[in-house]
Structures are given as C-alpha cells and as structure tokens.
C-alpha cells in the first residue's frame, strides 16, 4: 500500500515537473524585472505621423517619441525645450536659436539645426498656425549644426507661441531625412529625440503600442509644467493597451492588470472612485468645449435671427450634465476662448448667460422666415458626447415648433457628411455637434469654429468679414494686453454673428492605480515623470 502511494506520488510529481517544463512555470523570472507602465489610451494608435493627422492619440504618441523646440508651460507661456538660448533682434524681425548640446536622435545621430528647419517646414504645410507663421516668414535657415534663424517679413508676436503649440498639429522635431517626406504622405519611421523610443516591431494597431525609455535623452533641469520642463522617463517601458470596451477597461484597472486608464466614461467613474486602490483625477483642468455648429449655406440658419433663437434656448448646464454628469466635472463657460486660458472673456455673452426665453426664440425663428421646414441635425451615435448634445438640441428646437430630423451616423460617416455643402434633399445638414479640447480653442488663431472666412472656413462655412478682420488684427497684436482687448472685441462680434454656440466646458477625468506617482496635470496626457512604486 505504501509502495503504491509512493509510486502515485512520484507519478504526480513527475507529471507536474513535465507539465511545468512543457507549459512554462507561471511567474518564472517575474521578479525585479523592468518597470512597465501599462496604459489604456483614449483611442487606438493608427497613425505614427503627428503632422499628417490631427488625431489626439497620434499627438500623444508624438509627445512620447519627439521633442519640441519650445513648449507651453502651465501659464500658457512658451518655454525653451530643445532650444538652449534664443535672441530676438530689436526690430523683432530676426529670431536666432541655439540648440541644447548633447541631444541625439533615437538612431544615435546628433540633432542638427538642419533637422529642425526641415521639421518646421513640413509642419507649416499642414498646420494652420504653422501656415500663419509661414505667411510672416521671409526665410528660415540653419546657420550651423547648432543654430538656426527665422527672419520675418513683418513683426509677428506669435513666433514662440507657434513653436510651442501644445495641441495638434504640434511642431515636433524629426531627423531631416524623415522631415523631408511630403507633408501629405505618412511617415513610417518614428525616430525622434524624445524621452521614449517607439518599438515598431511590437506595434499591433488596434491592440498595443510599446515604448522604451530613451537612455540617451538629456532632460531639462526645470520641473515639468505642461509640455515644458524636464521630461524624465521614470519607467523602463510603457505599453499602450487599447481596450475598446469601457467596462472591460475599468475591470482591468480594478484588477490591477493595467496602471492607468486615460479616459473612462463618466458613468463608470463612481464605480472606479469607490476602489481604494484607484485614483480618479482631473488631470486636464481646462477640459474641452462642446460645440453647436450651424450650416450657413442652408435655411433657416443662414439667417442670423434663427441662430440667435438658439442663443435664447441653449442652457449649457443641460448639455454639461448630459456630457459629463457630476457637476465637479464641468463649468458653464460662454467664452468662445476656453475658460482658464488667457483670452477667455465674458464680452458679448449676455444673451447666452441670460434667462432662457423660448417665446423669444420662437419669435426670432418666425422673423427668420422659418415655416415648419425640416431641420437636419447630424449625430454620431458611437460618440456619446456628440449624441447627448444632439438629443438636447433636438428637444429644445421641438419645443419651439421646429420639425427636427436627427440623422444618426457613426463618427466616420458624420465627419464625412458634415463636409457636404449640398441642400438637405441631397444629403445636406443644418446643425452638427462636436467638442474641442481647450488648447484648440484658446486663441482666435487656434479656434477653428470662430473663423468666418466663407468657403475656406470650418464646416458650416460662415462668412463675416468683421470677424476675419479682428482675427487678423489679433494675429498682428504686439503684446498680450492688446491681444486680450482684440479677443474681447472679436467675441462681441462673434456673438452678434453667431458662427457657433459653445455648449459649455467639461473635463473627462482619468483613473490610475495608487502606486503611480508624478502624473502631470496638463491638457495633454504626458507619461514622463510618472513613477511606478
């Protein structure tokens, strides 16, 4: 009997041993490995070229692998980043820049001024602010390997702001051989000089993107502040794991399978907040602005009275509750330049902030000649922020007797359809909703929705020479005080002409495990400075 038991025990032991050999023992070699930050990004990384696309996910990828000449700090002031020192000539027509020593591309080659000039030239072909800089530029030349100059045709106060542009398209620096790629052709080589290196072999679009610490990176000495300051990679490896299902992503964070969930949906935040191992934090205090956009080519909103009617109907708090839930995640903000940024102003906002008046709205619609025609609102049902706004606008319009037709699409279809300039019976539209991050609405130059240059304007194509004149004056303003004054005047005009209606400012909190330290508060998610304890 004892022999039988011993024999069985040996057999089991042998089987277990063989099993372990065949299957691989779990956890073997797991101790004291590299520090890996597992991060669920807001979207899937599909393109590697932050100049080719404006997608925020690609912009965030850009911040991982590239560096910028200047970077915006938390006071929205441009600070040198790759640049060591710079001078401006007394006539403000010549900017001379010297690069920091010791900077290298990920392939080991030194960063040269010629690389930076080529990168800026490519960026200028795609980015509106870059195009504005190009308009003012007479020449941009590398003087030697470490310095370059920008010579202007006339003074342009936004040179450094342009080089420090925070959101898409960010003027990231690339090696000249890559930056020489046609701006309308995607780059495939993600060689940068930033704090992390992209591991292309491990990239599985729709699933995973991997970055490793750039050990050659020489960070600045200043503490991090927005995109400025020292970018110190405190983990060895960062894995972006795209988890399309929000419930699964939240469960993965709760179970400790991932460390950081960039943008959990608002309805799951209370669940995550109850978990003692998770921090739900507002890392982007400026947030985003909701947008109600009119089509100026189709009646009734080609008439300013009809647009004004909406000003008497829209109650930002309704929209914000629907978008962001908890009041601590939103603020009513009638300024067209994001609240909390230097150009924010109350000028001209009286109607939107005043008493809601459906009777007045109805009268204005009548004055505009509205006579019960169908009003088409485009929706993207796969984007709750869009769809929730659409439902509210539709309800408000129905209350004043408008025949509303909500046309449901997915996001891909909606953004195609909003480009249509056709009348309603040929696929046209009257209203669409979207949202824009605060840095992209911070100034008259950055805010696309406020532009009113007719056929060349953002979808909806408003045409108001007065707005354009003020915008041009803002671009030429010599200092911040004058800029603020012009921005206020511009907003007064915008609230008379009404190119769009801001539906309020909201934040989308992030959630991360408590063992993370050093998460940077900024409008863009930065992954340097984060320590995993």
């Amino acid at each position: 009997m004892i022999d039988l038991a011993r024999s069985m025990s040996r057999t089991v032991g042998a089987l277990a041993f063989v099993g372990a050999l065949v299957l691989g023992a779990p956890g073997a070699g797991a101790e004291s490995g590299p520090k890996v930050l597992k991060f669920i990004p807001q979207a899937d990384l599909r393109s590697l070229d932050p100049i080719w696309t404006t997608a925020y996910i690609t912009r965030n990828h850009g911040y991982m692998v590239y560096d910028t000449l200047f970077a915006l700090d938390a006071n929205f002031v441009p600070q040198p980043q790759m640049v060591d020192s710079y001078t401006v000539s007394p006539d403000k027509l010549k900017y001379s820049f010297t690069l920091r020593p010791g900077q290298k591309w990920h392939d080991g080659a030194p960063v040269r001024a010629a690389d930076c000039v080529a990168s800026l030239k490519r960026w200028e072909k795609r980015d509106p602010q870059g195009q504005k800089l190009a308009e003012f530029t007479a020449s941009m030349d590398a003087v030697d390997d470490k310095s370059f100059t920008i010579t202007l045709k006339e003074p342009f106060a936004l040179v450094l702001d342009s080089l420090a542009k925070l959101s898409s398209n960010v003027p990231f620096m690339m090696p000249e051989r890559i930056a020489n790629t046609d701006a309308f052709q995607q780059i495939t080589d993600a060689t940068g000089s930033g704090p992390f290196k992209f591991v292309k072999e491990e990239w599985v679009p729709g699933n995973k993107a991997v970055y490793v610490k750039n050990t050659d990176y020489v960070p600045r000495k200043e503490p991090p502040s927005y995109a400025a300051g020292g970018k110190i990679a405190k983990v060895d490896r960062v894995e972006w794991l795209y988890v399309p299902d929000a419930s699964t992503a939240s469960a993965a964070l709760s179970a400790g399978e991932v460390d950081y969930y960039e943008q959990p949906p608002v309805d799951l935040l209370p669940v995550l907040a109850k978990n003692k191992d998770i921090v739900v934090a507002n890392i982007d205090p400026k947030g985003s602005q909701g947008v109600l956009r009119f089509n100026f080519l189709n009646p009734p909103f080609n008439n300013v009275k009809a647009r004004e009617a909406l000003l008497y109907l829209v109650d930002q708090t309704d929209y914000l509750r629907a978008i962001a839930g908890d009041p601590k995640n939103w603020q009513a903000c009638a300024s067209m330049f994001a609240c909390g940024t230097p150009m924010a102003t109350d000028a001209g906002t009286e109607i939107l902030k005043g008493k809601r008046d459906p009777a007045k709205a109805k009268a204005l619609l009548k004055e505009a000649g509205y006579n019960g025609e169908k009003v088409v609102i485009l929706s993207a049902t796969d984007q709750p922020i869009v769809n929730n706004q659409v439902l509210i606008t539709a309800e408000l319009l129905r209350q004043v007797g408008v025949d509303v037709d909500i046309q449901a699409n997915d996001w891909g279809t909606m953004i195609t359809r909003r480009a249509s300039k056709e009348p309603l019976d040929k696929g046209g539209w009257n209203i669409f909703h979207t949202w824009v991050v605060a840095p992209d609405t911070a100034t008259p130059l950055l805010n696309n929705a406020i532009r009113a240059n007719g056929a060349n304007a953002w979808f909806g194509w408003p045409d108001d020479p007065a707005i354009e004149k003020l915008r041009d004056a803002w671009v030429r303003a010599p200092d911040l005080e004058v800029q603020k004054k012009i921005a206020a005047d511009l907003q007064v005009e915008a609230y008379k002409f009404i190119p769009y209606i801001p539906t309020g400012q909201f934040i989308l909190p992030s959630a991360y495990r408590k063992n993370l330290d050093g998460v940077i508060i900024a409008p863009v998610t930065f992954l340097w400075n984060i320590e995993k304890k």
Partner: protein, 313 residues
C-alpha cells in the same frame, strides 16, 4: 474524390471574383471618405483633394477596382490608409488570436454540447432532458457581452482567478496562453453549446427511433454501445454540418467577444477599419473571410464521406 476536390477548388474562383466585386462596389458606394477622416478638422478642400489624389481615391471606379484586383491576384492586399502597414501583415497579426479563440471555443463546445445532446436524447422527457433544454434556451438568450461581463465580474474581479482581458500568444507557452482564453471561450461558447446540444438531441432522437437501433438493443448491446457506436455515428452528419457552419460563423463572428476581452483578432480589425473607412483592410479581411467560408464548407463535404459511407463524390 481528387477530381471532386479540384472541381470544388476551381469553383471557388468565380465565387471569390463575385465577392471581390461586391465588396469593392459596396465600399465604393457607401458614405464616408477616408480623406476627410485623415484630413481632420483643419483640412481645407484642397488638402482633402490632395489626400484623395495620394490615395488614388480620385480615380474612376473601374480603374480603382482593376488596380486593386490586379494587386490581389499578385498577393498584394494593399496598404492600410491609416497605419500605412501592409494589409497582409495586419491580417497575419490578427489571424492567430481569432483562430485560437475559435479553436478553443469549438473544443469546449464539442466536449460539452455533444454529450449533453446525447444525454438529453437518451433521457428524453426526464428532468435531465428538460435541464439540458433549459440550458440551451438560456445559452441562446444571453447575449455574448452579458455573459462576458458576468464572467469577468465573477471569475476575475471577485474570485481573482483569471485575467480580465488581453491576449498572450501561444508562442509564449501554453501556460501563459490558456488563462486569457478561458473567459472568452466560455462566453462565446455558450451560444454554440446551446445550438449544438439542441441539434445533437434532435438528430439523436430521430436515429434512436429507427428499427436498427431497436435491433441493436434486442441483440443485447449495452446502451453505451448503442448510443455511441450506432446512434451517434449515424446522427453525426447534421451535427458536423452545424459544427462546420458554427466554425465559419465563429471565425467571422467573434467581434463582440474580441471587443469585450480586448483580443486583437480579425473581427475587431474589421470593425475598426469600417469605422475609419480604411478600405484596403475591409476589402482584404472580407476576402479572407469569404475564402474561409468556402474552405470550411468544402471540409464539411469531405467529412461526410467518412461519416456516411453512402455518400460518394
């Protein structure tokens, strides 16, 4: 048999051509323009026109289709508009997770469903039969994502036994691979277990009422031998057909499971591509799916000859 196989393989060529034309036409006519998606908010009409030109989207339908078809014939499925990676590479990256999930689900399904169906037929009218049928109704009724969430909550969050999400390649070892497969296979397998259990039961009941089964019983054969040796083999043609169709459905129908469990398979690749209007990926994946359907059907037909000696081609 060889002549039959050859005939069937040749017959797939016109089928695939029709599929190719259909897929291309459908995408060409559907709303949505990748150039607009790529251009983003700040793109001017000129920018979008330039992007369309770069992608060849400004060419007439016949030119676009001809170019694409010629490339496909040469084994080039094109380049993804967004990732700029070859479509064939993207599909190859995604085939393993989808196949792994499909195979694991099928194995689990067959191991559970066929005995359940046989048992229900053997004990027809008893509580065992009713229990199996109740399970089948439940299995059909529960959407995959609900089952998935319940499993995640129970086995991952609450019991902390299995990972919530993700996929580990089998090349990392079976031990690393299997834990990530358990929950998705269970979630996805529920519907197919229910389906195959019902088909097995129905098919077995029909066979069990045949004279030769009564003869087998009267010869004194044990119930096990009658059930497994005589009845199951003769009932297996419709079961194999269902398993085969199920396999084909699984390969292309794992979208929800892949999304819930964050498995980077072909289903998700397709949905992501459709949402972004990444035409080359959509076309490539549908071609692969169609080929898989055709091949699975051929395999099923071949299997019939082994299961039923009366069937000859």
């Amino acid at each position: 048999m060889f002549a039959y196989l050859l005939r069937r393989l040749l017959a797939t060529i016109p089928v695939m051509l029709v599929v190719a034309l259909f897929v291309f036409s459908l995408l060409y006519l559907s709303p949505g323009d990748p150039a607009v998606v790529i251009g983003g908010d700040t793109a001017t009409a000129e920018d979008i026109a330039r992007i369309r030109e770069k992608l060849g989207l400004d060419q007439p339908f016949t030119v676009q289709f001809g170019t694409w078809l010629w490339n496909v014939v040469r084994g080039d499925l094109g380049i993804s508009i967004f990732t700029n990676l070859p479509v064939s590479r993207l599909i190859l990256q995604r085939i393993e997770p989808t196949l792994a999930l499909t195979v694991c689900t099928m194995v689990l399904t067959i191991v559970v469903a066929v005995p359940m169906g046989v048992l229900a037929a053997w004990k027809v009218g008893t509580w065992i039969d009713r229990l199996v049928m109740a399970f089948a109704v439940l299995g059909f009724s529960f959407p995959v994502f609900v089952t998935g969430y319940l499993l995640i909550f129970g086995l991952s969050i609450w019991a902390d036994l299995l990972p919530v999400q993700g996929y580990v390649s089998i090349s990392n070892g079976l031990w690393a691979f299997l834990p990530n497969m358990v929950l998705p296979s269970l979630a996805l397998g529920m519907v197919y277990t229910a389906l195959i259990a019902r088909i097995t039961r129905a098919s077995m009941l029909e066979v069990l009422s045949q004279d030769y089964i009564r003869t087998a019983h009267s010869k004194g054969l044990s119930s096990g031998k009658v059930l497994l040796g005589h009845a199951l083999k003769n009932a297996s043609v419709p079961i194999v057909t269902t398993i085969g169709i199920g396999l084909a459905l699984l390969i292309s129908g794992v979208v929800v499971t892949e999304s819930v469990f964050a498995i980077p398979g072909l289903g998700r690749l397709t949905v992501d591509a459709i949402l972004r209007r990444d035409y080359p990926i959509i076309q490539g994946v549908i071609l692969v799916f169609s080929a898989a359907y055709v091949m699975v059907n051929l395999l099923i037909d071949v299997c019939y000859t082994f299961l039923d000696p009366r069937i000859r081609y």
